[in-house]
């Protein structure tokens, strides 16, 4: 195995593009090292992207938006008071992943690129309207987070491409986000269902809504019908009923030891309601 430590994303991309065998990018390593250990993947080229300048930075831009470096860990996000205040749902979703030790290494870009439908931070990233900057052999492009996963362990990134930053919009006024998940225990488990919601209000009426569901389909879903159920309402009982139905309708889950199809579908509806209420309260400053 060749171990590379490029000093720029274009160098990292060039190494990956010219590699003949299996390639993996290494940031936090909490998935890659487990896959290497379990012989799921034996990379010929391992490209450590942590020595690229700026990858550990959380930057607030002039317009209020945020740029997170690809090596920013969960712990660093939780410790950043201003970012946490702006996007509490995204930070909470990330904080749910693994133990203190995992939080010291794991990154949300890794969580996204691992391609798990149950990745906790991904519904929260999608609800937030986050995008990723991508560098590849043909140049740079920006994609919405929801367009990155294409199925379990699969992404839309092509050979030689890698994510160079994650962009989170400005939070703005009268807005809030939240993430809730269901697991059979109290800590450190894989989501049976996860739900991220981000709302903006005008005098109590919802003007913007994004609802994302995890672990109920081959990839994390952005559910437009859920947004439609919420926009123009004050989160009254009728809106919540429609939201619940829209969330259930979006589900296409697997049956496994952690949850049946029926269970996951019902929980998706329940979580959508609870998460929307939490985001709504936050948007009201409660």
């Amino acid at each position: 195995m060749n171990y590379h430590t490029p000093s720029s994303f274009s160098d990292a991309s060039a190494i990956a593009a010219s590699a003949k065998g299996k390639t993996r990018f290494l940031a936090g390593g909490t998935d890659v090292l487990v896959q290497m250990r379990s012989d799921i993947i034996t990379p010929d080229d391992l490209i450590d992207i942590k020595q690229i300048q700026g990858v550990k930075d959380i930057t607030k831009n002039k317009d209020g938006s945020w740029t997170l470096g690809i090596a920013v860990t969960g712990a660093e996000m939780s410790e950043h008071a201003e970012f946490k205040k702006a996007w509490p749902g995204l930070v909470e979703a990330t904080d749910l992943i693994g133990s203190t030790q995992i939080q010291g290494r794991a990154t949300i870009v890794g969580n996204l690129c691992n391609g798990s439908p149950a990745a906790d931070s991904v519904p929260a990233q999608i609800a937030a309207g986050a995008t990723v900057s991508i560098i590849g052999p043909t140049g740079e492009r920006i994609m919405a987070v929801e367009d990155i996963p294409t199925g379990p362990s699969k992404t839309s990134l092509v050979h030689g491409e890698l994510i160079s930053a994650i962009n989170v919009p400005a939070r703005g006024e009268n807005a809030g986000d939240a993430y809730l998940r269901f697991i059979p225990r109290t800590e450190m488990d894989i989501a049976v269902v996860g739900c991220g919601v981000s709302l903006r209000l005008d005098n109590g009426t919802i003007t913007e809504a994004r609802v994302a569901l995890g672990a109920v389909a081959p990839k994390v879903l952005l559910v437009d019908e859920c947004s439609k159920a919420l926009i123009g309402t004050k989160l009254d009982e009728t809106a919540l009923k429609k939201l619940r139905q829209a969330a259930e309708n979006a589900c296409n889950p697997i049956n496994d030891k952690r949850g049946t199809i029926e269970f996951r579908t019902e929980v998706a509806g329940v979580l959508a309601v609870r998460t929307a209420k939490k985001a709504y309260n936050r948007a009201q400053g409660k």
Binding site: M1, T30, L33, V34, G98, S99, T100, Q101, I102, G104
Partner: protein, 159 residues
């Protein structure tokens, strides 16, 4: 690829080692630096037995490559006692019988020390959450929590 040359700090001392880039930091600590206090449990980041600090942040050394330690400061259980004088946490673990087989103990001590450096007066819930990534199959955890609380109290009074 041939072995790579790495320079790092371990428990305050500068060390140099050669390692294959596939070797984990845990392998390097145990097999190249002979620091066998750090234990291997699961090897996949689930149990916390191999917990060390990297630049004062907890990590599972099985989930990090030895080559990634280049230029970093690594803290292991061997850096905890000062000569024959046990760290208050180590003393309290003995007093409270907070260990049985002992495989998880180095990782728990390193994690608990890191907690008390950030939060000298954690409540029980905070201790349990902080140590949730350190599995112990012997003690049932209660004695560990009491030992950490007692050590924290002694350290607060001493400071």
């Amino acid at each position: 690829m041939s072995n790579m040359h790495v320079t790092a700090k371990v428990n305050g001392d500068e060390v140099e080692f050669l390692c294959d880039p596939r070797e984990t930091l845990l392998d390097v600590l145990r097999d190249r630096l002979n620091l066998t206090g750090t234990k291997e449990g699961c090897g996949t980041g689930d149990c916390g037995a191999c917990t060390v600090t990297i630049d004062d942040r907890l990590v599972c050394s099985c989930l990090m490559l030895g080559v990634e330690a280049s230029g970093k400061s690594v803290g292991t259980i061997e850096g905890m006692a000062e000569g024959d004088t046990l760290h208050p946490l180590q003393k309290k673990f003995v007093e409270h019988a907070a260990l049985q087989c002992g495989i998880c103990t180095p990782g728990i001590l390193v994690a608990a020390k890191n907690l008390l450096e950030k939060n000298p007066d954690p409540n029980e819930e905070e201790i349990r959450y902080w140590l949730a990534g350190n599995l112990c199959r012997c003690t049932g955890y209660d004695k560990i929590i009491r030992a950490v609380q007692d050590a924290a109290k002694e350290m607060r009074e001493a400071s």
